[in-house]
Subunit: 265 residues, 4 copies
């Protein structure tokens, strides 16, 4: 980067608070020392009020931004199964419920929610379904129009965020390959999951530099990138996240929560 040029900031976000009762998932404490935004499960695919409370407190203690991570109602399937035959409006009510529950647990500790990111199959479905995306963005805005909406660049959710007057946080995935639609390749396809911290960091840096999602085919989908999502529930999650942060900083980027200035296309 040129001297004098403003330093570009990039957020690193991670799903957290996905334990439930006696079941523990992920090493949230360590991840909180690396990432800048935490998407906290709200009890529909994972999490319970105690886990939510603890995760909020731990994130705040680290100065990490917190957001709600609502899902379809599917504990058994961890929100990864597509459940059809619900109207966008029915899903909107479920999202309001989840955000409201987390927000109350946050505010009791003096913590303010910064964003909302939908989980698993709900996120994938919304990215390709304009009516669902609009319903979700509307739900978020109806709770608090100051909440940002974490979306995939150039997909239906980004458009819905802007139309609802929400600040979109456009994220790419560090460890996932992209189909030509701009959506994630199915986990079932070979090559869909990227292994190796440096390989993942290389890809992330290339996309940030190009201001584009770079698909598996080489296709480029132009779009601003505000955040990189790392996963917390895989064996090498911590080492991948740590290496990514180092590489971003070595490249001259400032790793920090997203600012609110990204409301334009």
């Amino acid at each position: 980067m040129e001297a004098g040029a403003p330093v570009r900031t990039i957020d690193i976000n991670c799903d957290m608070g996905e334990s439930f009762g006696v079941y523990t998932l992920g090493d949230d404490d360590t991840m909180l020392s690396i990432v800048t935004s935490a998407n906290i499960a709200c009890g529909y695919h994972a999490g319970d009020p105690l886990v939510m409370h603890r995760t909020l407190a731990a994130a705040a203690a680290r100065g990490v931004n917190v957001g709600a991570h609502p899902s379809l109602h599917d504990l058994w399937g961890f929100g990864r199964r597509r459940i059809l035959d619900e109207s966008p409006d029915e899903i909107a009510k479920q999202i309001i419920y989840q955000i409201g529950a987390l927000r109350a647990l946050a505010e009791c500790q003096g913590i303010r929610l910064a964003h909302v990111k939908t989980h698993g199959s709900l996120g994938n479905m919304a990215a390709e379904d304009a009516a669902l995306a609009a319903a979700i963005a509307g739900a978020i805005a109806s709770v608090d129009s100051g909440l940002s909406f974490t979306v995939m660049p150039a997909m239906a959710t980004e458009k819905a965020a802007l139309e609802a007057g929400l600040t979109p946080i456009r994220e790419i995935y560090a460890d996932r390959a992209y189909a030509d639609t701009g959506n994630l390749m199915s986990r079932k396809l070979p090559g869909s999951v990227i292994h190796g911290p440096d390989l993942a960091a290389d890809r992330v840096l290339r996309m940030i530099e190009a201001d584009a999602v770079i698909c598996e085919s080489g296709k480029r989908i132009p779009g601003r990138i505000d955040s990189v999502c790392v996963h917390g529930d895989t064996p090498d999650a911590v080492s991948m996240a740590r290496r990514l942060r180092e590489r971003l900083e070595q490249a001259g980027l400032k790793v920090a929560p997203p600012s609110k200035d990204s409301k334009t296309l």
Copy 2:
């Protein structure tokens, strides 16, 4: 009542929004034309986001006060089973979760929650357990100290409400007999459930006049009475509620939501 004396007001409250998915419980629409406060289930013992949304809208359309009706997490047992081995603090988090979820669904419609009333076995347990009562009152206050807390007169919950700075709404049950502790007699005991609209109204009027809970034994427990609880899920619920309202009005009472002036013992 003497001419010139201020008219005493009395609230009638009813549990509502206790349907779930395809399952319907109670005739909420008719009850909303009779009562002045609705305690709305929050998904733990009954209710789901769609039911909650609909019930809030219907209550607001009738000008009925709405409150949260949190419970232990027990859909199968409808919140009526005592679940032990949870700390007061763990229960507090669950209550914050539920109030927050309902509050968000309310605020999206421009509706403000007025009160919180605990459901079923949670209410019974808290009435006799000072630590649990304090945790619940603290949970409510931490969400919004402007929320009233519906309690049984002279029980641990009333004391906890006052100590937490919350306005207590002291309620009696129209159709239930009282043990000498001031708590409800177990449903399993003979005579614990009052049948007959006029019999129920007689008892309610006697207690209001006496400013006391009158127990099955004749014992009187002095205490202010702000509200009468009617049930919505019994076959004669509507006729009992309707007759009660008539009788209260015939006796010169004004049936209306509770005011906020009851913060003293």
Copy 3:
């Protein structure tokens, strides 16, 4: 019918035991006085061990055949939502679980299960998905190859039943219109649900006479018909079932549980 010709028998089946905890659905007792087979929910879309026990006992007391009515795991959606991203093998295990649970509750009362019918969206999905149909038939056969499998005529499930060596019970729906695929028309389409007991009975008799499913378009899909399904959870369920039984008997059919002689195409 000609004198001397064997009397044709026809079964009437109904979904039952779909209450849950305090929630009641349908008038099972009355329906049991009309139908000849009961499909009993197994706790996945409805039902709980107490409801299952009671429903088994009530059916046996009436001499009504009992069968398991397994579903996708979806109490909130009553098994009517399609849940994707489960393999046929994963669903097979869930079906074995449900049949086993009901079978144990039946055998403790000296009752033997006669058949299995899949519920809601699981049934619709299996009718059009050969791999899923085969997995379900395999699951049933692995529990007890003497169980019949209630299927839609000429669909994937009928073929799967025969290939697994199970006796298929081919059923038509009294109150539903058929698409040209042989599957039910979506409930969302106009005309998909038949109202009026005599209209429904007319259609059923025409199909039985024709030995074919008669679609909304007029198309005929030849197939043997062993049973007619009536619903128990609609307001006019009882009158429709009663009228259907009268009309079938007036037409000279014998209303009785299916025999085991239908193992050929």
Copy 4:
């Protein structure tokens, strides 16, 4: 032991199959190489049909005895919370449901269940409640009177097993201290959980030698000991189980599943 004396056998049992969906609990594969009986969760406190199927298969491949491990219906609390206000008969139906579900998944693989052991708070409650113990024993016997019932020596469950004609498997816990009632000391009390593989093995050997439960106070409660329970979900579970087995074998005991000859007091 004297030459010529029959070798005494002792069983080692462990709770297993307590994973759920994406959540993993315990190292079942390693524990299966050490223990001789596996108590498999049935979906009420943990486990799901896929986990149950896999655990059954893995146990059978190792030649480990399998039994059902039914619980109160409490996934969130892992079956450790006491849920009151259910009648013994209602609990009996839930136990039949769970045993039946597991049995079907077992039989499909050619595996026969050997025993039933109740989980968590249900086990503790039954040990001290004769009516509940009798209902549970009756439920087991009604499913299959050939099933053994794993119980605590000299408690209500042992008596109920014998009266129901079931073979009791009297177990002691390797890592838990005993109250003078013969029941486990609450986990909340200091000293209730034994740490250190050799300390635990010492205690087990002393009790087996004494044919008595030795309480924390020194009190001895005479009773036959057929099995030792090890836990699978603690960090040092594997090393404790392994050391226990070595020590039992060094002491001349034969570690093997229980035989069926223990039907006498």
